[in-house]
């Protein structure tokens, strides 16, 4: 499908069309195998030279129909599948799902379990934001921050591996608590040490290396601006919404778990380097969220109460009374939601997942128009999508 540039209009770009010469927009397939599309996203571009005139995301290359699988496995078994949504921050996805099941099933969760959940989920969020930083830098051509961020992420994976047993896909939370208590070694001390190192040494390094680098600022500021109105209209959530200057965080404003007990701030994009809602704002929101997550981890672990870490027997299947509820929580990428329709049995009747990355990506159709190809890469990177969650 080629769009003819001369279909009645005077021209596509700034330049005038030469009369009598048929010109077309160049149709480019960016992806599904492309270094900058963060997985198997395919963007169908119509470009005129470097300028993009139309972006059409094509999804489904990682589709596994997890929602259909949910109807076939019971509530506990499906926790495993939630790991596979946002495979960069699986703990937060676990958290969403178990919160949804608990809300619908009226399951009490012990405070210790909630503290452990928050600590692990925030660790996972830090890991995911590190990947976001790293790959965003890589999209800009900065290789070295990628490796540094992966080095720190590796530390987080080691910590989470020690408490959950899984390296990337944890399957740690269950409805009614967490699967395992603290490990026998001094896990808490190690986490606190890591968090301190992250705040004191690593983040300043990243900031010097990438955040306040002039080239990086030039590449990202005033690029891919999502206005406040667009962010609401397109259902953007998470750092994308906050990057547009909206002080909104599900953890504080629609509280779940024990987040209301802890003290943390919500960083928002303020347009320090350009316009509010540009790529740099979305990026800096993630950097500052890492700091806030570190604070949350410290509070959750320092105030870790004694007591049970599960409220229901693990061997028994979870039964959820009939009903339907939508639950959303703040994952690393945005607000992940589960709409569970239960029929009173062991399996959900319908489990719809509201994918935050999908809504965040959708805005690209609007803001991608008129960008340069390089800026489009930056914008996709700043949206920080993960295809496992979009395609499910």
């Amino acid at each position: 499908m080629a769009i003819e540039a001369t279909n009645g209009k005077k021209g596509w770009g700034d330049q005038d069309q030469v009369p009598g010469i048929k010109s077309e927009l160049l149709e480019l397939n960016m992806g599904p195998q492309h270094p900058a599309t963060h997985g198997v996203l395919r963007l169908l571009l119509h470009t005129d030279g470097e300028i993009v005139y139309k972006v059409t995301p094509v999804l489904g290359y990682l589709h596994r129909c997890a929602e259909k699988i949910a109807e076939g496995v019971d509530y506990k078994q499906w926790v495993v599948y939630t790991d596979r949504f946002d495979y960069l921050a699986p703990m937060t996805c676990n958290h969403t799902y178990v919160t949804a099941v608990e809300k619908l099933g009226g399951i009490e969760v012990p405070a210790r379990a909630e503290h452990l959940r928050i600590a692990t989920a925030e660790l996972s969020r830090v890991a995911s934001h590190l990947i976001a930083l790293a790959t965003f830098g890589l999209d800009m051509g900065a290789w070295t921050p990628l490796l540094y961020c992966f080095r720190e992420r590796e530390e987080i994976l080691n910590l989470l591996e020690r408490i959950s047993g899984g390296r990337m896909l944890y399957n740690y939370m269950v409805p009614g608590g967490v699967r395992y208590d603290l490990p026998r070694d001094n896990w808490v001390a190690d986490v606190l040490e890591f968090v301190t190192m992250m705040e004191k040494k690593k983040l300043p390094d990243y900031n010097t290396l990438l955040t306040y680098n002039k080239i990086f600022i030039e590449r990202t500021s005033d690029v891919g601006i999502i206005t406040r109105e667009d962010a609401f209209a397109y259902g953007c959530t998470g750092p994308v919404l906050r990057g547009s200057g909206v002080k909104w965080d599900c953890r504080r404003d629609d509280p779940y778990s024990l987040y209301h007990k802890f003290d943390f701030e919500i960083p928002v994009g303020m347009g320090e380097m350009g316009t509010v809602g540009d790529c740099w704002d979305r990026y800096i929101v993630r950097v500052r969220e890492i700091e806030q997550s570190c604070r949350l981890i410290r509070q959750a672990l320092e105030q870790l109460p004694e007591g049970p870490y599960q409220s229901i027997e693990l061997k028994k299947p979870v039964r959820v009374p009939a009903g339907a509820a939508f639950t959303r929580t703040e994952t690393a990428k945005g607000e992940l939601g589960h709409y569970i329709v239960a029929d009173g049995g062991q399996k959900p009747f319908r489990n719809k997942v509201r994918s935050c990355s999908m809504c965040n990506l959708q805005v690209l159709e609007k803001i991608g128009v008129g960008l340069m190809v390089s800026d489009l890469v930056a914008t996709v990177g700043s949206l920080d999508i993960v295809l496992g969650e979009i395609d499910r």
């Binding site: 999804l59 489904g60 589709h63 129909c65 929602e67 259909k68 109807e71 076939g72 809300k103 619908l104 609401f232 209209a233 397109y234 259902g235 909206v246 909104w248 404003d253 629609d254 039964r319 009374p321 009939a322 009903g323 339907a324 509820a325 939508f326 959303r328 607000e335 939601g337 709409y339 329709v341 029929d343 009173g344 049995g345 062991q346 399996k347 009747f349 319908r350 719809k352 509201r354 999908m358 809504c359 959708q362 609007k366 395609d391 499910r392």
Partner: protein
């Protein structure tokens, strides 16, 4: 604002289009007539007392075989037989289809849930993608997976599956096709070793030992 009050405002506006309000303890919801949903959504978004500026979620639902008694006796989805082929789908589904809309207002901080329900053979719902642009992809997904048409949608294509895929997987009577574009889609036989002949155990102690 209280859910009931929201519903009353809505009922005042669209009259008989607001069919019923269900005071569910976990999540109250309102049932709306299929034809009036876009109008209702526009009202909910634009009325300053309501100001629902975010569509949190739009879910397509297939109510076929839903256990109304809450005993967990819903019709099971079709799975696979022991030989790996999908179960034969001679069951004919008769239940309704539905769509659930979860709305949220950032300024007023209240939520509301709307549901529509329509017979299986008249599966057309007015689109709300004009109200919230985010609904566009949600509706495409609902069309793709559940098979609900959204009237007036600007670009109702399949989103996650291939354009020429047959069927809508999240319907309860969906049968996995045997092949798609010449690609066989059957699963493997679960009861026996899928890779005949049986594999020899690799040598060396690095692997789980034979029992």
């Amino acid at each position: 604002m209280d859910h009931k009050a929201i519903f009353d405002l809505l009922a005042e506006r669209i009259g008989a289009g607001a069919i019923a309000f269900h005071e569910d303890p976990i999540e109250p919801w309102a049932e709306i007539a299929v034809g009036r949903i876009a109008e209702a959504c526009l009202f909910l978004r634009d009325d300053p007392r309501l100001a629902f500026d975010q569509l949190m979620c739009l879910s397509g639902l297939d109510w076929d075989g839903y256990d109304e008694n809450g005993k967990g006796k819903s019709v099971a989805i079709l799975g696979y037989q022991d030989d790996g082929t999908p179960e034969p789908g001679d069951r004919t589904a008769t239940g309704d289809l539905g769509v659930a809309y979860h709305l949220y207002s950032h300024s007023l901080r209240h939520k509301f849930t709307l549901r529509v329900r329509m017979p299986r053979d008249r599966n057309v719902v007015p689109t709300v993608s004009g109200v919230w642009p985010t609904a566009s992809w949600h509706e495409r997904e609902a069309w793709d997976l559940v098979g609900i048409r959204f009237g007036g949608h600007p670009d109702l294509r399949r989103m996650l599956l291939e354009e020429d895929w047959v069927g809508h997987p999240l319907r309860k009577d969906y049968v996995m096709p045997g092949s798609w574009s010449g690609v066989p889609l059957q699963g493997q036989p679960f009861s026996e070793n899928p890779f005949a002949p049986a594999a020899p155990a690799p040598a060396g102690g690095d692997t789980p030992a034979e029992g």
